[in-house]
Symmetry: C2
C-alpha cells in the first residue's frame, strides 16, 4: 500500500500561481524554465518550487529544467481544471453581481453557472446571461447543472444559513465573502475572502 501524504494547503495555494506564470511564459513562446528562474520571477525559493512539484511527480528534466507546456498541463490536471467546474453564486448584491460579471469574462474553467438570492425582489433579475433563482430552487438547480462549488456573497447574518443549505445540497467547497466565520462539518472546505478583514489586517502595516 502506498503511503498517502496529506498535501499541505500552502502547497495547493501555490499551484495556481505556478500555472499562471507558466501560461505567461507560453504566451512568450518560452519552452523550458528552471526552478531558479521561476524562483526569481515569483519571489520564491527554487528548492521550494522543486519540492512542491516533486510531490506530484517527476516533471523536470535534469540539467534542463521544466518543459513549460507539459508542466502547465500537469498542473491543470492536478488542480482538476481540465474540465469545467460549475459554481453556484448565492447573493447578488453589489459584490455578488460584480463577481458574476467578472467571472463571465474570465477565460477559466471555474464558471458561475447559476445565481441565487433570498430576497424576492432580486429573483428573476438578469445579471449578464444568468437569471437570479430563488433559494427554494437551490437543490434542484445544483443537481441539474452538476454544480460542485459555491460562492457565498450574502450579508454576515445570512451566511451560516446559506452555508447549511449548500452543504445539504451536497456542495463540498465554498468560497465565503461574507464577513463572518461559518461552521461546517468535517470534509467541507471553506476559504474565506472577506475584504473587510483583509483591510483590517493590512492596517497593521501602516
Amino acid at each position: 500500500m502506498t503511503k498517502i501524504h496529506k498535501i499541505p494547503d500552502v502547497v495547493i495555494k501555490r499551484l495556481p500561481i505556478y500555472l499562471r506564470y507558466l501560461q505567461q511564459l507560453m504566451e512568450r513562446d518560452i519552452d523550458t524554465v528552471s526552478s531558479q528562474q521561476m524562483g526569481e520571477d515569483l519571489n520564491l525559493n527554487p528548492a521550494q518550487i522543486r519540492k512542491d512539484l516533486s510531490i506530484f511527480g517527476d516533471f523536470g528534466v535534469k540539467g534542463m529544467g521544466y518543459r513549460v507546456t507539459e508542466l502547465a498541463e500537469k498542473l491543470i490536471s492536478i488542480l482538476g481544471l481540465d474540465k469545467q467546474i460549475n459554481i453556484a453564486l448565492v447573493g447578488v448584491g453589489n459584490l455578488g453581481a460584480a463577481l458574476c460579471q467578472y467571472n463571465r469574462y474570465q477565460n477559466t474553467s471555474t464558471k458561475i453557472v447559476a445565481i441565487f438570492d433570498g430576497h424576492p425582489a432580486k429573483v428573476g433579475q438578469k445579471i449578464g446571461n444568468l437569471v437570479v433563482h430563488p433559494m427554494e430552487d437551490l437543490s434542484k438547480v445544483v443537481k441539474e447543472l452538476n454544480i460542485k462549488m459555491a460562492i457565498i456573497a450574502v450579508p454576515a447574518q445570512a451566511a451560516q444559513g446559506v452555508a447549511d443549505q449548500l452543504i445539504d445540497c451536497g456542495i463540498k467547497v465554498i468560497l465565503n465573502f461574507a464577513p463572518t466565520l461559518i461552521q461546517v462539518p468535517p470534509g467541507i472546505k471553506v476559504q474565506n475572502a472577506d475584504v473587510t478583514t483583509e483591510l483590517q489586517s493590512l492596517a497593521y502595516y501602516l
Copy 2:
C-alpha cells in the same frame, strides 16, 4: 534596549478575526471570555490565542479570562483602527465599483475616499458619493486626502504600472485584486486577493 520580535503575518491575520468575534460578544452583552471559549467558537487552539495576545501585552485576568470590551479596544489600537484609514481605489470596473459601494455601507475605519481609473470614459462618473478621478490626479489627491492604503482592481496587464504609480505617491500598503503578481521594493506590503486564483486552488479539493 528591548528586543523587537518580528510579529508573524499569520498572527496579524488572526487579530481582525478576534476583534470581530469580540464585537459579536459585545452585542450579546457578554463581559468576559476565556481563551477556551474563544477557541471553541473560532476553531482555534486556546494556547494559540493566548500566545497571540500575549505578544502585545497582558490583556487577560488569571482565573477569569479576557474582558471583552477592553480586549476589543486593545486590538483596535494594535491594528491602528482607532482612527479612519483613507484608501484609494484604482480601477472602477465591475469589481472595483462593487468594492466601493460595499465599503460605503460597512461600518469600519478602513474607508475608500477616492477612486481612480485610467480609462477616460470612466473619469467623472459617480460611484456612490465619489467621482472617478483620472490617474494624473493620483499624487495630488493622495496628498490632499492623506491616503495611506490602496486597492488595485484593474486588469492584470495594468496592475504593475498602477502599483508603481501608487508607490511613487508614497503608498506603502496595497490590496491587489488583479490576477497577477506585482513586484514591489522592500518595505511595501502587498496582499493578493485574486478571485480566480482562489477558485483554482479550491478546485483541487473537489
